[in-house]
């Protein structure tokens, strides 16, 4: 435990989830400093400092969805602006994507307008911790698998995924990781004949 941890200035009461999340976060910092990419840890700490690992978004979900649809459509049109359009009878590569993107922008517009006219649901609290850690651990698997081999990447994803959840226990996690990776190695590599890169330690 870092000595600064208890004095983080978190509200002691009110947010009931601050407790377990905070101790889990501390556990991850000390016992597995290598597992997480620094950017991920920074984002996590920033998020935790805000509201104790979860983000409460007060925006309407319709508005945000509309915004997303519009920006994706616009992005697709911009990237595809140099694809030839052609005519209806002889469509170029850009014709169909342009149609779909315009449709997307139209729908996004409807959603945005609707979000101002009617009361819509707020998005509410998003737990950043499982999101970032789980995605991070799978990304780590992707980054490690080619150069470090399956056993290392497999251990990384199991440990990372386990940290992403609640009630993280180091010993249990280590046993689980070793057991699962061994099981998969036997089942997939030897049993089903999948090609998984091996780890060479020397």
């Amino acid at each position: 435990m870092r000595p600064t941890d208890p004095a983080d200035g978190r509200p002691p009461a009110g947010d009931t989830r601050a407790g377990p999340a905070a101790s889990g976060g501390a556990g991850l910092d000390t016992s597995h400093p290598v597992i997480l990419p620094p950017s991920c840890r920074r984002a996590l700490r920033a998020a935790e400092a805000e509201t104790g690992s979860s983000m409460d978004i007060k925006l309407s979900s319709d508005f945000l969805t509309g915004l997303f649809f519009c920006s994706l459509g616009a992005l697709a049109i911009i990237i595809g602006s140099d694809y030839p359009i052609g005519t209806a009878a002889r469509m170029g590569a850009g014709y169909f994507p342009l149609m779909v993107s315009s449709g997307l922008i139209l729908l996004g517009g409807i959603l945005i307008i609707r979000s101002f006219l009617t009361e819509t649901e707020e998005i509410g609290a998003i737990d950043v911790r499982p999101l970032l850690l789980l995605i991070g651990s799978i990304l780590l698997f992707g980054l490690l698998i080619e150069d470090w081999g399956f056993p290392v990447a497999g251990l990384a994803v199991v440990i990372g995924a386990r940290i992403a959840g609640r009630h993280y226990k180091p010993l249990e996690t280590a046993l689980l990781a070793v057991g699962l990776v061994g099981f998969c190695l036997v089942l997939f590599s030897y049993g089903l004949g999948l090609h998984l890169p091996a780890t060479r330690l020397w």
Partner: protein
């Protein structure tokens, strides 16, 4: 007796020892993964899909069909024992099934679900064997314009599949179509949205999207949910139904099969629609409607039969027209394409072994379910008692291995992680991932048929209205849209009125 010869051919394919083994393996694996809470058939199939890539086409399809049935039955098991439906079609099973389990009739509920699914599966397989060839003959007359309108109809119908906002569901379809345009354009061989990455030339693998959005995305949402106390039934006794029980559930099962079989033909949400409407029907027909919701065996039998029948007949549009009517069928089409086969009316004439083998294995899969699951129910109960914190890291590891082994490409894993985060965020925005997957699968086909139809008509869009088949699908599409949007307008207007009178 042509039908019998063809069915015989099918059984001769399905009954070879290796194929039988793969079918069995599929049912077993499907049930193992499907029984895990929070993983429905779509997620299960996505996770297990890469395992089938290395197999020859008939074995792969037979295994996939087995996985599908196993996953569905596994979902019902979870619904009955834990009250945690893996997907929307087993929501109804959970209502009365869980109550039965709490009354100490867990075994009976599980057996009822299995037997009714088997009855429905047998009848629906026969329907497929009779109806599919006839429909495929009709489908041979379809021109590009007809296909285009049909797929448009299918996509709009898929909106029923999504819960909540129609606009968002259509938006997700369009996002899926847009993702489908990534890669080298087939007609002009121009690279679209590849960002100069050579691996994007063939487009994104649909298994990457499916596994990311369903496998990884669902797990994030499960972790996000606050610790809930799951009370589940550990004791399963009295597995075999008595004669009196059979007499009670046989009629609802048959009614459910009929209703489900018909609704399953409709593109979009067949099993869901089927199980809900059958439940409503049984409640209406029952002499003791008050017993529903408190553990009525009819409330398990009818919907289980209906969703299985619908799940089977959903294969008809898929096999004859190449049109997926649900996310599961979209996955099946994806799997067929991976094997280098294009689903559609030609499949039956080009690969009769495959077509009839699949139909035969559907029935065998249903049989295996009964044979396998009733004795093994104790194991599934054990599996359910493994805490989720031990299960989901394993699921993540399987996802990673699965995605990586599609092309032995680490980029796919990175993409799947991104789609996992995307899927989770979209879910929080109340956008369902299923329409996106459907759009992604159908998108390239839609573009192709649109281009061809307009090329033939020299750019005249009237071609879609002049061809009778195309016109009727377009009319159906418009009707469907009106039906979908009308209640929304009414509700919005009502809300507006209420606000103005306040």
């Amino acid at each position: 007796m042509e039908l019998f010869n063809e069915l015989l051919l099918g059984f001769s394919v399905a009954l070879t020892p290796t194929n039988l083994l793969y079918g069995f393996l599929g049912v077993l694996l499907g049930t193992i993964i499907g029984v895990l809470p929070g993983l429905g058939p779509v997620a299960t199939i996505s996770i297990l899909l890469p395992v089938t890539f290395a197999l020859p086409a008939p074995a792969a399809l037979i295994m996939l069909a087995g996985i599908y049935y196993g996953a569905q039955y596994g979902g019902s098991t979870t619904a009955i024992l834990v009250n945690l439906p893996g997907e929307s079609s087993s929501v109804v099973t959970a209502i009365d099934g869980y109550q039965m389990a709490r009354k100490g009739q867990a075994g009976l509920a599980l057996a009822t679900a299995a037997l009714c699914s088997f009855i429905a599966g047998t009848l629906a397989t026969l329907v497929i064997a009779v109806a599919a060839p006839a429909l495929a003959e009709v489908a041979l007359d379809f021109g590009p314009a007809d296909y285009f309108s049909l797929m448009l109809f299918g996509l709009v119908a898929a909106v029923i599949l999504a819960h909540g906002s129609v606009v968002k569901a259509i938006g997700m379809i369009l996002v899926g179509i847009l993702l489908g345009t990534i890669g080298i354009d087939a007609n002009t061989s121009l690279e679209r949205y590849t960002f100069g990455i050579p691996a994007f030339g063939d487009g994104i693998d649909f298994a990457v999207i499916a596994m990311g959005m369903f496998g990884i995305g669902e797990t994030i949402s499960n972790l996000d949910q606050k610790d809930e106390q799951r009370s589940f039934v550990k004791e399963v006794r009295g597995l075999w139904p008595r004669w009196a029980d059979i007499r009670r559930f046989i009629a609802p099962a048959l009614r459910g099969t009929f209703l489900g079989g018909c609704l399953g033909l409709l593109p979009g949400g067949g099993p869901v629609l089927a199980s809900f409407s059958t439940y409503a029907l049984e409640k209406k027909l029952s002499r003791t409607p008050g017993a529903f919701g408190k553990g009525a065996i009819e409330g398990v039998a009818g919907p289980e039969a209906a969703n299985n029948a619908a799940a089977q007949t959903a294969f008809i549009p898929m096999l004859t027209l190449g049109l997926p009517s649900s996310a599961v069928m979209a996955l099946m089409i994806g799997a067929l394409m991976m094997q280098g086969l294009s689903p559609g009316p030609q499949l039956m004439t080009q690969r009769p072994d495959l077509f009839w083998g699949l139909i035969a294995s559907m029935w065998l899969g249903n049989l295996m379910l009964v044979v396998l699951n009733l004795p093994l129910v104790g194991i599934w109960v054990k599996l359910l008692s493994v805490p989720y914190r031990m299960l989901y890291p394993a699921i993540m590891l399987f996802c990673c291995i699965g995605v990586y082994s599609i092309n032995n490409n680490a980029l796919d894993v990175v993409l799947a992680a991104i789609f996992g985060g995307f899927g989770y965020l979209m879910k929080r925005l109340h956008c369902e991932p299923a329409p996106l997957l459907l759009g992604f699968i159908l998108g390239p086909m839609i573009e192709e048929t649109l281009r061809r139809a307009l090329l033939i008509s020299h750019g005249d869009p009237m071609v879609f209205l002049q061809r009778p088949i195309s016109l009727s699908f377009l009319v159906l599409t418009v009707l469907l849209l009106v039906v979908l949007v009308a209640p929304m307008i009414r509700v919005t207007r009502q809300r507006a009125f209420e606000e103005s009178t306040d």
